[in-house]
Symmetry: C2
């Protein structure tokens, strides 16, 4: 095969590198070397990059010297320069290695978004220009996290950022795989910093990955996971700095769940509010959660029980507790709240596994383990795919380790 | 007049602020305050900004860590982020003061250039979008120094940079004036650091300004001056930090030159090569200057004299002398050069004044002054508009001061 004349039957991979992976000229050179190697092995590649680590925060800092809440359009114009810098430098590093490469802004690729500056959604990715570059053996190096609205203004994407850019491009190009390179080797059964025997998963289902991401595994943003699932993009998480096949996020048949706990995620700094005397009826609930939402308080887990009387409780970030309590206080004239109990310094611990939580033996094992480590669950919620417990924050690490052991996740 | 509904009969000014003027958040706020004041006085304004001082060099430094000579397209993609940052911050600072403002890249304005990455020329400026913003009372804040080619790629302009952007926009919008804000109060009769009695000029002709710029006054790049003259843009140089009307660069009738020396410019670090034995005939000259140009050596002043034999000499930057001598050596087989004399540590001193240098009394006064300070002119060239002398670098300041006094430039 002649270089620069790669056949369109060669595998096409979209590879996303985060801010740490391109955090210095040295790291950019390391990535460029890997990309060159893959090129010579016949891979067709589209790169998607984040800004160099720290750069975006630096730009936000400049803006905040002017305004506490700067105009969203201008903020996007400002912070999008971070990715433009990293893609230009990467293109240079690839050219240094004799490869043809071209850096592209979101506008140049034609990543069309809606008008929501600062949290735009991708509506369409034009692939004509990317296809033309690939046909000419030119590696497109695309600025992540950004697009353009219909007026040609720079927008930046909401949550999920550059991961979502990579997934959207992979979907538009029907790429074989979208590879998310990070500073960890893949998705683990739990945080290896808490439980050293945590195992890297070779594969995980989209539903499981979504829950793991939502419940505290920080490797992928849940929005990019659901985007990938929606557009049928094969997603792989792997390390920028170590060899390995990472973790494949795969499609599983809904009728054949693994029926096994695959991972445990934990999030600290949680709080809980419970309302044991709330007057019955969904109208009260509606008012409460509408008002909380209007004040920017996100209720996370919500649970309602009925014994002698109804009790509703919900969790939220500890940092939002004071605001939530003040908000509840302000409607106590309108809604008969009764007592308002609140708890700080809690943690949320979640077991994730497709189709597993209808099974009583799993629940039994969870309670058995909690008893062993003398910890109470203050709240429990379950779905088809996960079981979440709220426990004291001080017990989080002990509980993660005990449950990891109990479900034999340390055995590869 | 209702704010944001300024009449299209209000004066329209294009204002360019250089890197020092926007070098920090504090300075951006100072400029924003001035712009707000002008807005409330009824001015319609288009701002053109350079990158924050030092930023562009930082980006070049990053690129040079990868490649000594990076790809010009990628370098433009990289360094154009500098201006994008400063315009976004300025738009925020204007909005903070209750003004409507919008930052724009060269691509968004539609500043169309040719394909010469790193030294592009502006071919066309679309004004539809700018006009629309102005009609809505929105202040356009344009990234200087950049444009787009027909493929939508980012280009940066050659010499003259952001000044040329401002002039091109002023021409396209038929603005009343293009104001170049700098860290000096205007154009002086000579460098005030050399001669403290140097006077700020209230006005100067385009020809004079062009020569002053070309001959060492660093305030404006000669290319932006000639661009302004070509497109009949009224140009004014003034200080970002002090009040004052600066210096107006004006059109004068060619038949009414001021017949007066208006300024003195000096440039150090010059060298001279003379070829006293060169065989006669323009073919030899052609070969020599073609080859020097091919090696990137710029001959500046060129003078040829005929007494008993022909002598040609020319000046160049001292830093290029070794390369020039090596180049001449390489063609000594083809062209009979004879002796090659070279001189280092010279300076070029130029007197500028429209229509003045045909007059013998001026020449007489120059020689009288040089005799007084015991300095020889190693070379003299004249044109309608200027007289340039080559003297020892060590005599430059003395000569500037003596001539400034002799021509009474210290008298306002």
């Amino acid at each position: 095969m002649v270089e620069g004349q790669q056949q369109s039957t060669s595998p096409l991979l979209v590879k996303k590198f985060g801010g740490t992976s391109v955090g210095s000229i040295e790291r950019i050179e390391v990535i460029a070397e890997q990309v060159a190697k893959s090129f010579h092995q016949g891979e067709r590649q589209v790169l998607v990059l984040s800004a160099m680590a720290g750069h975006t925060n630096h730009l936000f800092g400049l803006a905040n010297q002017i305004e506490r809440v700067p105009d969203a359009r201008e903020l996007d114009m400002l912070v999008s320069t971070g990715e433009q810098i990293s893609v230009a430098l990467m293109a240079m590093a690839l050219q240094k290695r004799g490869l043809k490469a071209r850096s592209l802004t979101g506008d140049q690729v034609q990543i069309h978004t809606n008008n929501q500056f600062g949290r735009a959604s991708i509506e369409r990715v034009d692939t004509d220009y990317l296809q033309m570059l690939l046909q000419q053996g030119i590696i497109p190096v695309v600025a992540g996290f950004q697009g353009r609205n219909t007026q040609g203004e720079v927008t930046t994407l909401g949550r999920g950022g550059s991961d979502t850019t990579a997934v959207a491009i992979a979907a538009a190009l029907s790429a074989q795989e979208c590879q998310i390179f990070t500073d960890v080797a893949g998705i683990y059964t739990t945080d290896p910093n808490i439980e050293p025997s945590a195992q890297k998963l070779a594969a995980i289902s989209f539903d499981e990955m979504f829950e793991m991401a939502r419940l505290g595994a920080k490797v992928l943003h849940p929005d990019s996971v659901s985007y990938a699932e929606r557009f049928k993009v094969r997603l792989r998480v792997l390390s920028s700095f170590e060899k390995g096949s990472g973790t494949l996020v795969q499609f599983t048949s809904a009728k054949q769940p693994l029926e096994k706990v695959v991972g445990i995620a934990g999030v600290a700094e949680q709080a809980m509010i419970s309302l044991p005397d709330l007057e019955s009826g969904s109208e009260s609930y509606q008012k409460i959660f509408q008002l909380l939402a209007a004040h920017g308080v996100e209720a996370d887990l919500v649970s309602k029980t009925l014994s002698d009387k109804e009790t509703i409780c919900f969790t939220l970030n500890d940092s939002e507790l004071d605001l939530a309590l003040a908000t509840l206080d302000s409607i106590s004239q309108v809604v008969k709240l009764g007592a308002v109990h609140s708890h700080r310094k809690l943690a949320k611990l979640s077991l994730v596994g497709d189709g597993v939580f209808a099974k009583s033996d799993i629940l039994a094992k969870v309670f058995e383990t909690l008893t062993l480590i003398q910890t109470d669950a203050k709240m429990i919620t379950t779905s088809d795919i996960k079981l979440s417990l709220v426990i004291d924050q001080s017990a989080l690490h002990t509980a993660v380790r005990a449950l990891h052991h109990a479900f034999e996740l340390n055995k590869a």
